[in-house]
Homo-oligomer: 253 residues x 7
Amino acid sequence: MQMMPQMGYDRAITVFSPDGRLFQVEYAREAVKRGTTAVGIKVKSGVVLLVDKRVTSRLLEAASIEKIFQIDEHIGVATSGLVADARFLVDRGRIEAQINRVVYDEAIGVEILAKKICDFKQNYTQYGGVRPFGTALLIAGVDRKEPRLFETDPSGALLEYKATAIGAGRAEVMEHFEANYAEDISMDDAIHLGLDILYTITEGRFDADTIEVGVIEVETKKFRMLDPDELGGYLQTIRERHASEDEEGEEET
Amino acid sequence: MQMMPQMGYDRAITVFSPDGRLFQVEYAREAVKRGTTAVGIKVKSGVVLLVDKRVTSRLLEAASIEKIFQIDEHIGVATSGLVADARFLVDRGRIEAQINRVVYDEAIGVEILAKKICDFKQNYTQYGGVRPFGTALLIAGVDRKEPRLFETDPSGALLEYKATAIGAGRAEVMEHFEANYAEDISMDDAIHLGLDILYTITEGRFDADTIEVGVIEVETKKFRMLDPDELGGYLQTIRERHASEDEEGEEET
Amino acid sequence: MQMMPQMGYDRAITVFSPDGRLFQVEYAREAVKRGTTAVGIKVKSGVVLLVDKRVTSRLLEAASIEKIFQIDEHIGVATSGLVADARFLVDRGRIEAQINRVVYDEAIGVEILAKKICDFKQNYTQYGGVRPFGTALLIAGVDRKEPRLFETDPSGALLEYKATAIGAGRAEVMEHFEANYAEDISMDDAIHLGLDILYTITEGRFDADTIEVGVIEVETKKFRMLDPDELGGYLQTIRERHASEDEEGEEET
Amino acid sequence: MQMMPQMGYDRAITVFSPDGRLFQVEYAREAVKRGTTAVGIKVKSGVVLLVDKRVTSRLLEAASIEKIFQIDEHIGVATSGLVADARFLVDRGRIEAQINRVVYDEAIGVEILAKKICDFKQNYTQYGGVRPFGTALLIAGVDRKEPRLFETDPSGALLEYKATAIGAGRAEVMEHFEANYAEDISMDDAIHLGLDILYTITEGRFDADTIEVGVIEVETKKFRMLDPDELGGYLQTIRERHASEDEEGEEET
Amino acid sequence: MQMMPQMGYDRAITVFSPDGRLFQVEYAREAVKRGTTAVGIKVKSGVVLLVDKRVTSRLLEAASIEKIFQIDEHIGVATSGLVADARFLVDRGRIEAQINRVVYDEAIGVEILAKKICDFKQNYTQYGGVRPFGTALLIAGVDRKEPRLFETDPSGALLEYKATAIGAGRAEVMEHFEANYAEDISMDDAIHLGLDILYTITEGRFDADTIEVGVIEVETKKFRMLDPDELGGYLQTIRERHASEDEEGEEET
Amino acid sequence: MQMMPQMGYDRAITVFSPDGRLFQVEYAREAVKRGTTAVGIKVKSGVVLLVDKRVTSRLLEAASIEKIFQIDEHIGVATSGLVADARFLVDRGRIEAQINRVVYDEAIGVEILAKKICDFKQNYTQYGGVRPFGTALLIAGVDRKEPRLFETDPSGALLEYKATAIGAGRAEVMEHFEANYAEDISMDDAIHLGLDILYTITEGRFDADTIEVGVIEVETKKFRMLDPDELGGYLQTIRERHASEDEEGEEET
Amino acid sequence: MQMMPQMGYDRAITVFSPDGRLFQVEYAREAVKRGTTAVGIKVKSGVVLLVDKRVTSRLLEAASIEKIFQIDEHIGVATSGLVADARFLVDRGRIEAQINRVVYDEAIGVEILAKKICDFKQNYTQYGGVRPFGTALLIAGVDRKEPRLFETDPSGALLEYKATAIGAGRAEVMEHFEANYAEDISMDDAIHLGLDILYTITEGRFDADTIEVGVIEVETKKFRMLDPDELGGYLQTIRERHASEDEEGEEET
């Protein structure tokens, strides 16, 4: 009975509730909150995106769970929420990037691309006959000499972060960042920081198959995924560190 | 149960309630009331727009929270409410301004631009399959030798003010203005007046990163954002003034 | 509970209620009843339109609250109800007037213009996907040598009056007119009559800033707004008259 | 509670109720029943249409309440119900008449015109996204040497009458006709008969301003409105007759 | 309360109820059941259609109540139900007949025409945004040397009958036919049979004005309406027969 | 009250219920279950379709109740459910067959035709603004040297059977087939088997007028309806067999 | 009563529920869960798809129940859920494969095809006026030298598996695979593994008619269905194995 008053506000098209909220957009945000955790960290020398793919079965080809996508040479995105919606937005982003190359004969700016994706998302919150996208994106890239890290949500809102996260583990990750993030660390340290957080969130259940890491450095301006070997090295370090911490913890007890 | 009678009036398209109100428009106004506070002050020599960006995390790039936008050389707008809707309206305004330059070979009048944005908004309150915009705008500019300051709301209504505010702090700001506003103060004093109000509203939690200030002067007819240094100077003055007041207050006790 | 039977008649499109009324149109009339009071008086030598702009804050530029609009050289309208809807209808009227000049090379007849606006309004009460206009208009002009004064409502109905009013004060004004209106008074007396009524309605809270007066005389066939000085003179007379009346009233007691 | 079962049948589009009625059409008929009374009388030598314009205020220009319209030289219609809908249908009829003149180079037949208007009305009862017309029409004209008098209702049904009425007074008028109508009276007597009925219905509250009378005679085949003088003459006769009847009535008592 | 479960099935478009019925179609059939009674009788030498026009007022021009229409030289239809819907279908049938003449240079087959009208009707039961036709038709004609008599209903179903009826009196007529119909009677006897039934149904309240009779004979292949004199002769016979029966009945008592 | 939970799933367009069913499709199946019984039997040498036309009145021309239709020279279909929907699908099938002849210059395959009709039906279960077809079909034909017998239902599902039935008597017929069907019987025996079943279902109330039988043999590849004489012969055999069985039954008692 | 809160989220178009789920998509998944079980196993040398066709009547032509379809020479799909929806998607897949051959003159990649089908499915979850597809697919093929096995669901999500299942028996099969699957077994063993699982699920009720098996080997890159003889051999082995197991089991007891 308690839910009946909402009946009028969340149907058919995205309309306002009496307190000025767009229910369909807020419900779409819930879809994101139930998604896998994606983390983005921006440092002076570049940006790193990390995703826990939440592989739950050994029968699954972990590689088929794509959560980080390359949009253009210099831009990558990490997604959380409805995977089919994410693929749709990634395709849209790639098209925008290509159009920019064809029309202006140069790579699209990271912020411009982010805004175009957000404008596209906004449209799905204002017109009838569609629902909002149930997907958030972290957009990482380099504009001229600047590393950039944007976050979009189902409303089409756009914010730039130094470090942020989307998906189920967002609150925990942000708390961690508030305490431990520093802008002037190296890319290497940034990757370690990100993996460290994912280690905590997944309670140590991860390996090179279930984690995806994408990086872009200011110097190269090329977005690339870490290959299994590279990633394996980082994971080894994290595991060792935690193992010794646990030992210490045990010793302390 | 008490809300059931409203069920019929706020769905699908913007229809009238039995007492002649458009619920979807009023609900959209609630979205504005929950937005960040934007303040506009018009004086003889120009107009100033000030916004508290409500930065809540050190991880956020405050610069990415754009609340004041330049529409044309001589026009700027401050927004409050749904940010993606605001971006849509800002784009619309820029297009109208460009069209005017192309068709009439001159800059668009501030009032004409404001009316065009409002007509656009009105359409979203009368036709089916869309929702109204959840955004209010303060539009500042100079028409010939006159400073102008308009406020629009989700209905498409348009009013010109000497000083006004939109967003969460509106009531408090307006009360302040009724008591303290004078039309013949200098731009400098206007900026101080605006910052003073924001200082009160934010309970002193602000700095050059979380405040945006845009000004346009009759003499130059150029809208520009204060740069961090300029803004820093003003903020310093405000802080000092309040500090001494607090001291006085303490002394008085 | 008591309102539930109406649920079926006022949604989505303008449909008939069991007793043959169009609810959405009647609700739109409520929007007009909540609007500012506009008064029209037709005399032998012309027509006068008067509006109380209901200015509630000294921060508001009273001049920006337009309630009387010129449609063509010889036609003006006063509006009440939703201001954005009014602007839309005014634009429509101007376009119709221009079309007439282009197509027939002569000024549009006042009655023809009024009918065109009403046909436009009627359409918004019969087709789906739109709502009726929440605005009434008083249309004043001169056809050949005849002064004309029309009133339209949200249904698209059209009536010609000798003297009439729309908006919140309608009932009070009409009562006043039934008792005091005479067709053969001068324009000057008509303006005094109108202001007298607004004085009563606003309980004397008015000045040249909060009142708009538009006149068209049979002789000139030009619609024009009274300028502040002219209007000031009239207001002075009204205030003096009421002051002396009050004195007399007091003396009498 | 008692009205809830109807909720399903009268919304959005004109659908059938369980007993095979079209509610929206029946509700539109209610709009007609609340309209002013229009009377049509066909005699050998022509047809007369009479309307009580129900003028309620001395401030209203009675002439602006048009209830009888000329469609073509040889056809006139009297309307009852929603006035804006009536104007729409009248315009439609005029267009059909003009088209006939252009395409066939001759005046449209009265019955053909009546059918075209009815087909138009029927469409508004079968397709979604519109409501039926809330207007009935009496259509009077001369086909070759025959006087014709048609009545249409919101369903698009068409009937020819010797004498009939639409609007609030229909039942009373029809009863009167059943008793007093004769086909072979003169036009003059027909006008007297009609005015007599209106006198009764309005309880004698009428004059040349509040009554409209249109006639078409077989001989001339021209539809025309009675001018004030002509009408005044007839009214005088009616008043005298009733006055003497009242006297007699009083004497008899 | 008892009707609430149906709320979901009869709105907006023609959908299935849980037991596989199309409510809107069944409700449309109710509209037919409330219509005037139309009777069709097929004999070896032709087909006769008879309709009781149910004239209720002496003020009505009985001739204007058309219930039997000619579609083409060799085809006529009798209708029952919503009269405006019937007119629409008759127009449609005439167009189909004309198209056939233009395209194939020959008269359309009766069965082909009947199927085309039924296909048209079926469409109005399957697509959204329209309601089914509230009209049944009896279609009479001659295909090559065969007399044909078809009946359609609002669903678009098509059946051929030897003798049948639609409208309010259907059940009573069919009962009569089951007992009294024979295929090898003459046209004259068929007409008498039909009038006899109408006499019973109307309790003897009929004359040449309130009855319409159309016939088509195999020999001529021309559909034609009986003229008043012809019809008068038949009616006389029927009246006399019933009068003598009544006398006999009285004598018997 | 018990039906209310279904209110949300069966309206407007065909949507899924919480347990993954398409209500509108299932309700359409109910329309089929209420239809006349159609039977199909495939044997080595061909296919036979039999329908009980359920003729309920001697006034009805049994021949006009078409339940078996020829689609192309080598394909016939038997239908059950809404007859107007069936006619629509039959027309569609004929068009597909003709297109195949025009485009590929050869007769359409039975399976291809069946799939095309089913794809068409599926579309009416997935898109808004339409309802599913309330008709099932048995499609019989010969592909190369193979007899084929397909059954479609309102969902657009397609199955091939050795022997099957649709309509009201389906369950009873299928039970009969499970016990008595054999693939290697002759066409003659197949026809006897089918008639035997219809005899049982109709409790012996049938004759050459109320039964339709269509056959296609592998040898000829021509679909044809049994003519009255042929059919009469088969019926005679069935009646005699049942008569003797009944006698035996009686004797046994 | 308990279901009423859901009324608002599952109608008309696919909208979000308060916890961020798309009800229509989840209900469509239920349609899949009620479907027949389809199994896919990928090994080093190829992929095998197996389906239990759940044949319930000896009258049904088991061959007509197609659950495995060839899309292109090198790609096959197994389906579960609504069969008419499956056929639609299979057709779509074939068209995409053909387009690729025409446009790029080469066979489409398995993953590209899978993504195109999924994008198509996603569209049916975001736009109004349609419902999602009630079908899951297993897509098997060889990309260059790699065997691929994808699974799609009604949301348009896409995952690659080593071994997986869709339909009613999914949970049971997956449990079996978690325990018994190994990637390096031979194709022969993979087929045995799959049949073994179907044997268990169907409780041994299966034969060459009710099971469909499709295979593609890396070496040949040709997708093909096992023919009855081949399949018969495999089934014999399975039956014997289970028989001996049962015996052993019995012996053990």
